[in-house]
């Protein structure tokens, strides 16, 4: 049974047709690349899967169950997590505080239910060391590099044992060494049975980690091929429209 099934999904914003009749599925532990030019509908697709808004038509099934997400928390409850392009970090908080933002660990009894700061710092340190990141839990995010911020955003998804992690341009703003680290992390998530949808413009990254590549153009799916049966040239042609469909 597929982890995620997108069936005939379309989305309109008033008169603007962002997506029409897109179908694909993701298996547990599969890494799928979602590619397409700007305005091809990638972001809309991500927002549909992550519950920012419901589709106009078609349906999204998670683990065989039809889901109607109205807010990100609904999708999160089904084990779908997103690492956003702008990483959604609060600069005035520390790394550990950002990792646990919105799901802080607490101890004690109400009304004296307080934050369990040491537990959150220890757990964050564990997550960062798994990522081989030099991020330290008590540092303020304000002073951090792109790679460190990425580590924090990825650590968030690891907290909740997500079944499907959607990564929106995770390698766009970081150093070469950190790119290798992020790709390695994606492989580690895959090894643990976590499915990943990787959205990226960087062809080498996509070909390095993805099992399958889905290409969108002008709101429709034009290709859905195993990575081994395609080439960067073909994908580029599909994205630009030089090749109509595959």
């Amino acid at each position: 049974m597929s982890l995620l099934e997108v069936q005939g999904v379309g989305k309109s914003f008033g008169a603007i047709r962002a997506l029409s009749d897109v179908s694909f599925s993701i298996e547990p532990g599969e890494v799928a690349g979602l590619m397409g030019d700007n305005g091809a509908g990638k972001s809309t697709m991500v927002k549909l899967i992550s519950g920012n808004f419901p589709p106009t038509e078609g349906q999204i099934r998670v683990g065989g169950k039809a889901c109607h997400f109205h807010k990100p928390l609904d999708a999160r409850a089904e084990g779908i997590e997103v690492v956003y392009q702008d990483l959604a970090l609060a600069d005035n908080l520390t790394a550990a505080q950002n990792v646990f933002l919105g799901r802080e660990l607490k101890k004690g009894i109400w009304p004296f239910r307080i934050l369990d700061k040491q537990a959150m710092i220890d757990r964050s340190a564990e997550l960062f060391s798994e990522l081989k990141s030099e991020t330290r839990p008590r540092d303020l995010v304000k002073k951090m590099s792109g790679g460190q911020r990425q580590a924090i955003a990825i650590s968030r998804t690891r907290l909740s044992n997500a079944r499907l992690v959607i990564m929106d341009e995770p390698t766009a703003a970081i150093s070469v060494r950190q790119v290798a680290e992020v790709l390695e992390l994606i492989r580690r998530m895959k090894a643990r049975g976590v499915a990943v949808i990787l959205i990226s413009h960087r062809m080498p990254d996509v070909f390095a980690v993805c099992d399958r590549i889905v290409v969108l153009r002008r709101g429709t799916k034009v290709a859905d091929k195993p990575t081994l049966q395609t080439s960067p040239e073909e994908i580029t042609g599909l994205i630009t429209g030089a090749i109509r469909a595959a």
Binding site: P72, L73, R76, V82, Y84, D86, L87, A88, L89, A90, D91, N92, L93, Q97, N98, L101, G102, R103, E104, K106, R113, I114, L115, D122, A125, E126, F128, S129, E134, R136, P137, R138, D139, L140, K142, K143, M144, S145, R156
Partner: protein, 363 residues
């Protein structure tokens, strides 16, 4: 959990941190970069200086007066700090004070028990906060606009309800109301334990201490406060990580009005009368106090201690100027200058240094 493991990792990366200049903040560094700490130092120096220079400044009576005067501003400052941390501002606190005083005063003149009057006053104040919070949090209007509107609405309601009369015939519960507003502890008396050099702190002061300690506790230990700071730092991030942003912002405005209501009721008790002009212009003093104490108008920063120490600093300056014989009409100018100076200093904590501020000007 192996506590040794993260430590070892942090150590092995210490050299990298040195190179890129990212250091984990130690307690001392936090203290040194804290505006509230430097204001405390300045306040201490100012008090010591004045005590030597002016014999009537260092008396227990003057300490009683100063602590009572700034306590109300500090109480409102606690609420203002919460709103400022979310990145908003509450301009209505002074007018809310006026409305609360008139509502409570009217019920007292109609011979209702004091607790009914106080509860109704609080209810009226909290309703103003709920109005502010609703339009800011759920409708998404700028806090400046909504609370500026409330500044006008609440003051107007106070004038209408009072019939533009001063209320002072408070019925049978008047002594209780006065006792609440004028209570002191410890009391100087022949059989009392307190020596005369200890100031007789007012009820205003003690209410402020209790509220500041409670809010300080909330800031340090609760997830609610963590979310408050996250909203001020990056509202979008807070929303995406599942923080109930709208609800928390709403609560911030309700809390601010609640603090203004408490301040108003204490002042009502102290003066034994209610006039609809109570609190006029207080919003400026409250904002000045909190900003001097280190709260940031752009959101994301602020402490309970800062609200108290900033208000205390303003009041001591005011008191010192009076004793130095400077016309009290100059006070507004000083308050204004201190707001500008505090925000200028605060630019350092919000990522822009004073130096970059001046270089931008030159470009």
């Amino acid at each position: 959990m192996q506590p040794s493991q993260p430590e070892a990792i942090q150590e092995s990366h210490a050299s990298i941190a040195d190179v890129v200049g990212i250091m984990e903040q130690t307690a001392l560094q936090k203290l040194r970069s804290s505006q509230a700490f430097w204001v405390s130092v300045a306040l201490f120096v100012l008090v010591a200086f004045m005590a030597v220079l002016e014999p009537s400044f260092g008396t227990a009576e003057n300490a009683t007066n100063i602590t009572r005067n700034f306590a109300l501003i500090a109480i409102m400052g606690l609420g203002m700090t919460v709103v400022l941390i979310t990145g908003g501002i509450d301009l209505s606190v002074g007018s809310v004070m006026g409305l609360v005083a008139i509502v409570a005063g009217l019920l007292l003149t109609w011979h209702y028990p004091w607790y009914v009057a106080f509860a109704s006053g609080l209810l009226a104040g909290v309703a103003c906060g709920a109005f502010n919070g609703f339009f800011v949090a759920y409708i998404g209007m700028p806090s400046f606009v909504v609370t500026l509107g409330m500044l006008s609405i609440a003051r107007s309601l106070a004038v209408v309800l009072s019939g533009n009369q001063m209320l002072y015939q408070f019925g049978p519960d008047a002594p209780i109301v006065k006792a609440i507003g004028q209570a002191k502890w410890p009391v100087h008396s022949l059989e009392g334990w307190a020596p005369y050099w200890i100031p007789q702190f007012s009820s205003h002061f003690w209410v402020m201490v209790i509220m500041a300690l409670a809010l300080g506790w909330v800031f340090i230990f609760t997830a609610w406060a963590r979310h408050l700071f996250a909203i001020g730092g990056n509202e979008n991030a807070a929303r995406m990580t599942g923080v109930p942003v709208d609800r928390i912002k709403f609560q911030a405005y309700v809390f601010s009005s609640f603090c203004a209501s408490i301040a108003s009721l204490l002042l009502l008790g102290y003066s034994g009368s209610a006039i609809n002009a109570v609190g006029t212009g207080y919003e400026l003093r409250v904002i000045a106090g909190t900003v001097i104490g280190g709260a940031n108008l752009m959101g994301g920063y602020g402490t309970a201690f800062g609200a108290v120490i900033g208000s205390a600093f303003l009041e001591v300056i005011r008191n010192a100027l009076l004793m130095a014989g400077i016309d009290s009409n100059w006070q507004g100018a000083f308050v204004g200058i201190f707001i500008i100076l505090a925000v200028l200093l605060g630019l350092g904590t919000s990522g822009k240094s004073l130096k970059s501020f001046f270089t931008i000007k030159r470009d």
